[in-house]
Amino acid sequence: MRSFITALVIGAVLITGSILYNKSIEKISDELVRCNNTILQLVYEDNFADADELINILNNYINEKRVLLDATGSHEEIDKIETCLTELKEYNAHLCKADAIARIKTLDVLFTRMPKNYRLRPENIL
């Protein structure tokens, strides 16, 4: 009976933890996408100085949420985001608009995909 109760407690922790984790990932993804879209707008307007500032903010935000992202997300995916962000920073610093936009679009895909795999959908289960 004791192990059954322990199992129920573990089960409750796992389910609650999963729900909270999904919510946090959704929130982080929304924030990253929002920030990324602002950078895109600034780059379109050739406002590279403000874009650089926002890229730094985005970078700091990712570092801040790193533990949560690394906890269950693919480490390879996080590395891809980091690489893309470094490239974006350099393209932006050297005013390479087209390349910077390409990196922003790639980041948009990566940020949007982040919570996608964790959503309770038949395609994810299968």
Partner: protein, 224 residues
């Protein structure tokens, strides 16, 4: 490298915790569902152990989920016969009344040589000595021998007042009293010390092991 060591230790701890929480049955004879869980746990734990690209949680969460499912299923199967039947199956009678049940053997894909091997493993070299053989749900074969082949019991020998061996109590182990065992033997530390002194032991720390059997006989092994 250090990361791998830490991850391995964490996963090792998780698997040990899992096996402990699943109980002693998991370490002995496994039921089909328990075997599945044991195989899956070992595989799930080893993948994130080897690759640092895979998050540790992708190993720990499925292992914990398996434990929860396994414990819940064993709890419900202990309460419900149909669930038990689905999860563990039912014992199969391979030999009944000294006659091999060929239909059952075929159904279980069990050949005669497998059956004979199981009988030999159980010390029955002659099939004519077997009254009933049952293939249990854990895969072991239980055998009930014919009267001519079974071992003689105390009852058969009509021994008057056979010695009651019982379970000996380990009153001292590695130089210290075992309080629970003393209680079981109905002794206090003072009484036990007196008994040990009578046996020539001056100090309890000299003792490696001291046990008391059901007849009150004491066994003492001193430290080297």
């Amino acid at each position: 490298m250090l990361i791998l060591i830490i991850r391995t230790i964490i996963l090792y701890g998780t698997v040990i915790f899992s096996m402990r929480i699943m109980g002693k049955r998991q370490l002995g004879e496994l039921q089909p569902s328990e075997l599945v869980v044991a195989i899956m746990i070992s595989d799930l734990a080893s993948v994130p152990m080897q690759s640092i690209d895979i998050p540790l949680f992708s190993g720990i969460v499925p292992v914990l989920t398996l434990i929860v499912v396994e414990i819940c299923l064993s709890f419900f199967s202990s309460k419900s016969k149909p669930i038990r039947k689905i999860l563990s199956g039912e014992p199969s009678i391979l030999i009944y009344d000294g006659k091999i049940n060929t239909k059952e053997l075929r159904r279980l894909r069990f050949c005669i040589s497998d059956l004979l091997e199981e009988l030999r493993t159980n010390q029955y070299h002659n099939i004519s000595d077997v009254q009933v053989a049952v293939l249990e749900t854990n895969g072991k074969v239980s055998i009930i021998p014919k009267n001519k082949a079974r071992t003689v019991t105390v009852e058969d020998m009509k021994v008057k007042d056979p010695a009651n061996d019982g379970l000996p109590t380990i009153i001292v182990s590695e130089g210290s009293f075992n309080k629970n065992e003393l209680k079981r033997a109905g002794l206090t530390e003072d009484k036990a010390t007196k008994i040990l002194n009578d046996e020539g032991v001056k100090d309890i720390s000299e003792i490696l092991l001291a046990s008391l059997d059901a007849t009150g006989k004491i066994f003492i092994q001193l430290n080297d």
